[in-house]
């Protein structure tokens, strides 16, 4: 089974905070990480390849520095790593991104299974997985929380829904996205780290994936950013003071209107 796992390098949003005084972002100590959902996608790919036989190629679209993240993927069990990188990709929305990734997958000779994280924590759109499946015309399911079995070219898996889960039969070739519940990503082994040091990361540019330049990056993106602005601050704010008992009494008085409604 040939598996491709799609990975994205993102700013570590956990550490991005809004400075309440200036209402600007504080980036202090923010570094680039592998999108946390993608760590689970990678783990599932490596796990399935080990259990059912096959190879895992880690694929990322991003600037050259994303190569380091791909080395990390090899350290955690991927067999090969491919970086799709070109200045022409900058400003791509999810439509242009899925076009670029689809071209890359085709260039790599396709796959039996493509696994993506549910969404990336910088954009939170959850659109690239489904969009890529659409472009490659693959059987597709989102938010997989458990792969029960792969047998006779069919995956039996559970899809998380708002009110529970669906048990699915997904025929290969397929693409699915994963939620965090699916597994516990491994820590890179020493052997894996040694391998990652030596691995050659294949880099493909726009020409290398046979892309139509008009469909890439900002120009190829139907969505345009009109403006960005700081979220509105909330209205009245009161810090209660005094003893704990006094504060609780004040609070209950203040909440009277809400509680009586």
């Amino acid at each position: 089974m040939k598996i491709i796992v799609c990975l994205k390098q993102v700013p570590d949003a956990k550490n991005v905070r809004l400075d309440p005084k200036t209402n600007t972002m504080s980036r202090e100590g923010v570094k680039s990480i592998m999108n946390p959902f993608d760590e689970h996608a990678l783990e599932e790919a490596v796990r399935l390849a080990a259990e059912y036989g096959g190879s895992v190629t880690a694929l990322s679209m991003g600037p050259p520095q994303a190569g380091e993240m791909l080395r990390g993927a090899v350290a955690c069990g991927a067999d090969a790593a491919v970086l799709v990188s070109d200045r022409a990709f900058a400003g791509a929305d999810t439509w242009a991104t899925t076009y670029t990734l689809a071209r890359a997958v085709i260039t790599l000779g396709g796959a039996d299974l493509i696994i993506c994280g549910k969404q990336a924590i910088d954009g939170d759109t959850a659109q690239v997985g489904p969009g890529l499946a659409g472009r490659l015309d693959l059987a597709y399911a989102s938010c997989i929380k458990k792969v029960q079995e792969v047998k006779d070219g069919v995956i039996i898996a559970q899809r998380m829904m708002d009110d529970g889960y669906d048990e699915l039969e997904i025929p290969l070739p397929a693409l699915f996205t994963v939620v965090k519940e699916i597994n516990e990503p491994r820590i890179a082994s020493l052997k894996g780290k040694m391998k990652a040091k030596k691995v050659e990361i294949k880099v493909l540019d726009a020409a290398g994936i046979g892309a139509d330049p008009k469909l890439l990056g900002l120009a190829g993106s139907p969505t345009k950013v009109d403006k960005v602005f700081a979220p509105e601050a909330r209205g009245e704010r009161t810090m209660l003071t005094g003893t704990v008992a006094g504060q609780v009494t004040q609070l209950v008085e203040k909440l009277e209107a809400v509680l009586n409604a």
Binding site: P11, A13, K14, V16, R17, L18, T24, M25, R27, V30, S32, R87, A90, G91, T94, W95, D122, D124, T125, A126, G129, P130, A133, G134, A139, Y140, S142, I156, M160, M161, D162, D163, G164, Y165, D166, E167, E169, A174, K180, G217, A219, G220, P222, T223, V225, D226, V228, A230, R237, T238, M239, V244, A245, Q247, V248, L251, V252, K254, L255, V258
Partner: protein, 395 residues
């Protein structure tokens, strides 16, 4: 590409501070852009000197917007009920349709729909496109996507809205991709701009900034909308509308993925998204046992408990209780946060609550920046007193 005008750049560094990707730095008094730049445009809007510019270029895919008319919403139907977000979409859809002077239609598909289409008309739809077929009993991306794409191609609406639910977020992206249409995820505000385009506003970078997105050159303009953000209109049972009952034979309902079983696991008690009072706990609870106090308070107030991502990740409580960017969005009358520091990821899911009470040991916790009432103190001291006081009050 991001261009920096060396004549105008003052080297003030505001762009550097505002870049979430660390893609700009000021070198020798001049801003320099690095490879990490994603052209998000945040720096351009923040540059008071007007020294930054993003060249938009000519769009590759274009349609004539005049060929498209009408506002559509996708009315999600699962396990015998229309999802509440469908009515919220009709609420905002009516406003958009009025601003554009067009009709508002709903697409309803599934199996055994009975007379649910009528509810959509009562809530604001002028028309309902209804497809009732056993082949749509279970949700599959392929069949649902095919039906919606087919209808969009046939009727050419200018705007298509869907709920940002598990189902909406799963199949709408494929529909948008196949149309060559832009899709904006998780919108919190929608309006019509002066040029008639849909202004789609959503939180970006985990809610640190808001971004307004437009799709000037493609149609339909597609967006998913977070549940509990828009307001549904009260049902008007006198409202008239047209229900188009569609013939399944005209559609491709085949799906490669098969649903073997559909299991409802979220216990009834978790009506978190609908609760008027929510009591939420974070790391300050110290352990899973801390939720006993929260449950007691929530029961007393007739509300629901909720949790931050940190404690769900720690396994203290199940995921259906998670509020935030990667969990549920809630907007109750009263939201009480206990031992939650206030990471942006959590705030995004609850900042529309009418009244927010924060109880936290750390006076510098960011949660206090958005709390209507803040108490600095140990929640294990504050909550028992609050419970006692509330009990006395009701006696």
């Amino acid at each position: 590409m991001l261009e920096i005008d060396p004549q105008l750049c003052t080297g003030c560094g505001v762009c550097e501070d505002n870049c979430a990707f660390g893609a700009i730095s000021v070198v020798n008094g001049l801003a320099q852009v690095k490879e990490q730049c994603t052209l998000c445009g945040n720096c351009v809007d923040n540059c008071e000197a007007g020294a930054l510019l993003i060249e938009q270029g000519e769009a590759a895919v274009k349609v004539n917007p005049a060929d498209y008319a009408g506002v559509w919403i996708y009315a999600e139907f699962r396990h015998g009920e229309i999802a509440p977000v469908a009515f919220e979409l009709l609420g905002i859809g009516r406003r958009l349709a009025a601003a554009r002077g067009v009709q508002l239609a709903a697409v309803l598909m599934g199996y055994d729909l009975q007379d649910k289409a009528q509810e959509l008309i009562w809530h604001g739809a002028d028309e309902v496109f209804q497809l009732d077929d056993p082949g749509l009993k279970d949700f599959t991306d392929e069949a649902y996507g095919n039906v919606l794409a087919h209808l969009i191609k046939e009727h050419k609406p200018e705007i298509v809205l869907a709920g940002a639910t598990a189902i909406g977020r799963s199949f709408i992206p494929q529909v948008a991709t196949s149309m060559g249409a832009g899709l904006t995820a998780d919108c919190t505000d929608l309006a019509i701009g002066e040029d008639g385009n849909l202004l789609q506003t959503r939180p970006a970078f985990g809610g640190n900034i808001m971004a307004t997105i437009v799709c000037p050159d493609t149609r339909p303009q597609m967006a998913t909308v977070r549940p509990m953000v828009m307001t549904a209109l009260p049902p008007d049972k006198g409202r008239q509308g047209v229900v188009h009952k569609l013939d399944a034979g005209a559609f491709n309902l085949a799906a490669r993925v098969k649903v073997l079983a559909s299991v409802i696991t979220a216990p009834d008690k978790v009506k978190l998204a609908e609760a008027e009072i929510v009591v939420a706990g974070g790391r300050g609870l110290e352990s899973a046992k801390g939720f006993a106090l929260l449950n007691e308070l929530a029961d007393l107030l007739g509300g629901s408990v909720a949790a931050s991502r940190a404690v769900v990740d720690a396994g203290w409580i199940d995921y259906p209780y998670q509020v935030g960017q990667t969990g549920k969005t809630v907007a109750p009358k009263l939201y009480i946060c206990c031992g939650i520091s206030g990471a942006i990821q959590h705030l995004v899911g609850m900042q529309s609550s009418e009244v927010i009470v924060a109880i936290n040991k750390d006076p510098a916790a960011p949660i206090f920046a958005i709390a209507t009432y803040g108490i600095v103190g140990d929640l294990f001291e504050v909550l028992p007193r609050l419970i006692t006081e509330l009990k006395n009050r009701t006696l």
